[in-house]
């Protein structure tokens, strides 16, 4: 089975790709529009430099070859929500080519290209009529195209998950669910491929691909033939349906976009440094500090900032101390710490320094860090958590295989959680139990 993806990511600029209209979401239709994004005669596009910058950062993150010059193209197709009846995109000279992304830091997924383009507007069916909203017209997108190097629908999902995490980190994109990511999925089990267009969300990508894999396999077994076609994923029914048959490559009659000219991006490319991507950080932490990859993954997935704190603690104390505190109270208290502007990492570092200098014991250190991060009273934590901690530790002592299993699959923690919940019958909140369990398992890893 071969799977290749075309991933569309909305770039987090404040204004649109070729005009100064806002990219903010709004309920009111056609509120953020102007002559440029409405394609009025006489209007001329002007590039949003920030979008180019984000594009370059992503191209670098994906290890792409970036030419010194880049330009746009007109892709002509008639559709009511396509305001100029051509989309301004890139064709002959995409921003980046021939990159590679290492899934789990190991398996190479080749990146064919990354380019920048504008989103069209949106058509909304209301009864018998269609209404068009051009608010999205001209929203900047990056399209990342992979080679068919992905082996299974599950792998496609994992690839997307890691890729999106890295993209968000690279261009400082806020977490907004999976809304801003759209995907065209190409899949073949035999010779010919089908494309499932415009799938939103990781789960749907996996579902659509699984459905297609089964459909194509069955069809081939029954002696049928796969036709190259574009299919649509029906989210509600969980099936793909054919939209266009007999389609080879549509002829879009591409030409260079004469209104924008050629951009020399060499200076921009040289001046921008890409932050270490989360996936690379996971690998580096494991290698550099000799910690479990599972542990470094847990740190980075919780937050890149938390992983950075771990490194800071290594530098003030040692790896073992840093690991113990990070897996324990720091992981447990991270969410509330992160949302509280009055707290900073220095507060945590100074507690760890006290421990290092022998001023406090590790139990005191745990308590003080937790209290500092969550704002809870120390006594409450110690009385509450000690009972809970004792119960969990007892269970872990009696069932050492839980730790072994956890290394392979973190769902093993559920056995502990289930046990404690049964025993305590609602005396502790489930989030406290989960936190304590993960913390105590973390200490034993």
């Amino acid at each position: 089975m071969k799977i290749g993806l075309e991933v569309h990511v909305q770039l987090p600029t404040e204004s649109k790709l070729f005009c100064s209209c806002s990219t903010a979401e709004t309920e009111e239709p056609n509120a953020n529009v102007c002559p440029v994004c409405m394609g009025f005669p006489g209007s001329k596009p002007v590039i949003n430099e920030k979008a180019l910058e984000y594009g370059v950062l992503l191209a670098k993150m994906l290890g792409c070859r970036i030419d010194d010059t880049t330009w746009f193209a007109r892709k002509i197709y008639f559709y009511p929500d396509n305001s100029k009846n051509y989309q301004t995109t890139q064709h002959d000279r995409p921003l980046g080519r021939e990159g590679v992304y290492y899934l789990n830091g190991k398996k190479p997924i080749r990146i064919t290209r990354i380019h920048i383009e504008e989103d069209p507007g949106k058509t909304k069916r209301v009864g018998d009529s269609s209404l068009i909203d051009y608010n999205r017209s001209g929203i900047p997108l990056a399209e990342i195209v992979t080679e068919p190097d992905i082996a299974t629908p599950a792998e496609a999902r994992e690839f997307l998950k890691q890729l999106i995490q890295d993209i968000r980190h690279t261009i400082d994109m806020s977490e907004d669910g999976e809304r801003s990511i759209r995907c065209d999925c190409n899949i073949s089990v035999g010779k010919e491929r089908c494309e499932v267009k415009n799938v939103t969300g990781l789960r749907n990508v996996e579902k659509a691909l699984t459905f297609e894999a089964v459909r194509q396999t069955k069809l081939l077994k029954a002696g049928g033939k796969i036709v190259r076609e574009t299919r649509h994923f029906d989210e509600e029914r969980g099936v793909t349906v054919s939209v266009r048959k007999k389609e080879m490559e549509a002829d879009y009659g591409y030409i260079d976009e004469p209104d924008l000219g050629v951009f020399n991006v060499k200076e921009l490319v040289d001046s921008l440094d890409v932050k270490e991507s989360p996936q690379n950080m996971i690998l580096r932490l494991a290698k550099e500090y000799g910690i479990d990859e599972k542990t470094s993954k847990q740190y980075v997935s919780t937050s890149v900032d938390m992983a950075k704190l771990f490194e800071m603690l290594v530098s003030v104390a040692d790896v073992e101390t840093a690991r113990k505190f990070t897996s324990g109270p720091i992981s447990a208290g991270w969410r509330s710490f992160e949302s509280d502007d009055s707290k900073n990492v220095d507060g945590i570092v100074s507690i760890v320094k006290e421990y290092r200098d022998g001023g406090i014991t590790d139990v005191e250190g745990n308590l003080r860090i937790r209290s500092y991060m969550t704002g809870e009273d120390m006594d409450v934590i110690s009385s509450g958590s000690s009972n809970l901690d004792e119960m969990i530790s007892e269970f872990l002592d009696e069932n050492p295989n839980v730790i072994e299993d956890y290394r392979k699959n973190d769902k093993a923690a559920n056995r502990v959680i289930g046990h404690v919940m049964k025993q305590t019958g609602g005396a502790y909140s489930s989030s406290d139990i989960v936190e304590a369990t993960k913390r105590l398992i973390g200490e034993r890893l």
């Binding site: 006489g42 209007s43 305001s83 100029k84 009846n85 591409y254 030409i255």
Partner: protein, 425 residues
């Protein structure tokens, strides 16, 4: 300047049809100017010579219109042009501009009304040069025409046909005005002040031109020599491909730019909205585009489709690169390049309406190549044939060397006595 006599202008317009629309309240200002219908203006609708845009009232002014207004200019009206500037002669639905020297004859295409107005009203005209149209029309109408280097004048607010070659230019019967108003439009400087000494003449430049043009060109060469200029034969081997390459790029680009006209958002919006979108687009475009736009869309789409793109569109882009190289190497040997502006004086309107689109393209033989390469150009009136029809010659300078052309403008003005048409206001 006193207030313009609009009733006289209206009267002239009835005969010569240079304006599609005259502005209603033309106030007193420092100078009057006309605007081609391919520039958006707040005062009037913008149709680009096409029915499909009827009803389009742009919510903004083109940058060059703003520049003229800020310099004290008052727009007088929108001048007629061929539909979306796609063909070299106007036969459009809003009137055909008549040549000021002979009303049976043409003024050209995209810049026809602009040159006609400049000649008859003694005003400065703003026009877009499509495949050399500003210079062509200036020569046909016996006035000066000038187009700065590609990229030096903002094109915001212009509805261009071939966006990678179209440029904003000025037309006027006064050489001083050409210098003055071109400078107002240019966003950056016009190069070091320098005089022209050597004049490059492309080999075979008068082959296949009319006898009148040939004789006139040769006589003017003698005059230039007597004024101290040194002619020098140069070679521009790719020039024979350049005009058609310019057409290919223009039609290919125009066919995409015009895809937006589909009976939605602006312009004609009287289509049948119960149709499926593809049928809707087809019906609106079939009904409201004129023949020039339809032919340009067909031809231009063919130039850029898979299978033909390599042969036409891509090759035309190569010719552009070659042409720029050839101009630049020739301009190391000489200060400017001199050629006739057109192959003949203005043809009869009856002839032009019989021409096929491809036949009409020969009109651009001299003026399209510098548009293709983005070189600054100047056409000056330089004589009259036996029938009294004006003829022009043109100078091509290197990128950003407008100053050489401005300098020549002054020289030529002292040397040449311009004849004004009898009907001049």
């Amino acid at each position: 300047m006193s207030s313009p006599d609009m009733s006289k202008i209206k009267e002239l317009n009835e005969k010569y049809e240079m304006f599609r629309v005259l502005n209603s309240d033309v106030i007193k200002g420092d100078f009057l100017f006309s605007v081609s219908d391919s520039f958006v203006t707040r005062e009037a609708d913008t149709l680009c010579g096409s029915e499909i845009l009827e009803g389009y009232n742009p919510p903004f002014d083109a940058d060059s219109v703003i520049a003229f207004k800020e310099a004290g200019g008052v727009p007088i009206g929108k001048t007629n042009m061929s539909e979306f500037g796609t063909v070299p002669y106007t036969n459009g639905p809003y009137g055909i501009p008549k040549n000021p020297f002979d009303a049976e004859r043409t003024c050209g295409g995209p810049s026809a009304g602009a040159a006609c107005a400049a000649s008859l009203l003694d005003i400065v005209s703003l026009s877009l040069s499509t495949c050399g149209s500003v210079l062509n029309s200036a020569a046909y109408c016996g006035v000066y025409g000038m187009v700065p280097t590609y990229g030096k004048v903002s094109k915001a607010g212009t509805v261009d046909a071939g966006s990678s070659v179209d440029r904003v230019g000025v037309i006027s019967s006064k050489s001083d005005d050409i210098v003055k108003y071109a400078k107002i439009l240019m966003e950056s400087g016009d190069g070091k002040k320098s005089q022209i000494k050597t004049v490059g003449i492309p080999k075979g430049v008068t082959d296949n031109v009319s006898d009148d043009i040939k004789k006139n060109f040769e006589r003017n060469l003698e005059i230039l020599k007597s004024l101290g200029f040194e002619p020098k034969t140069i070679e521009l081997p790719s020039m024979k491909y350049a005009a058609i390459a310019c057409r290919i790029l223009t039609t290919a680009e125009a066919s995409t730019s015009m895809s937006r006209y589909c009976g939605m958002r602006y312009g004609k919006q009287d289509g049948d909205y119960t149709l499926e979108s593809d049928e809707f687009f087809t019906s609106v475009r079939t009904e409201h585009f004129g023949t020039p736009a339809k032919e340009a869309i067909l031809l231009g789409s063919y130039m850029r489709m898979d299978g033909t793109r390599e042969r036409y569109y891509n090759k035309a882009r190569m010719v552009r690169e070659l042409m720029i190289e050839e101009y630049q190497s020739a301009l190391k040997e000489c200060d400017v390049i001199l050629t006739p502006t057109t192959e003949s004086a203005a043809p009869l309107i009856s002839e032009t309406s019989e021409m096929t689109m491809v036949e009409s393209f020969s009109a651009d033989r001299f003026t399209a190549p510098p548009d293709l390469a983005g070189m600054p150009v100047l056409s000056v009136p330089c004589g009259y044939d036996n029938g009294g029809m004006p003829m022009g010659m043109m100078l091509i300078a290197n990128h950003n060397e407008e100053n050489k052309l401005f300098d020549f403008c002054e020289t030529w003005n002292k040397q040449f006595d311009i004849v004004k048409p009898e009907a001049v206001l």
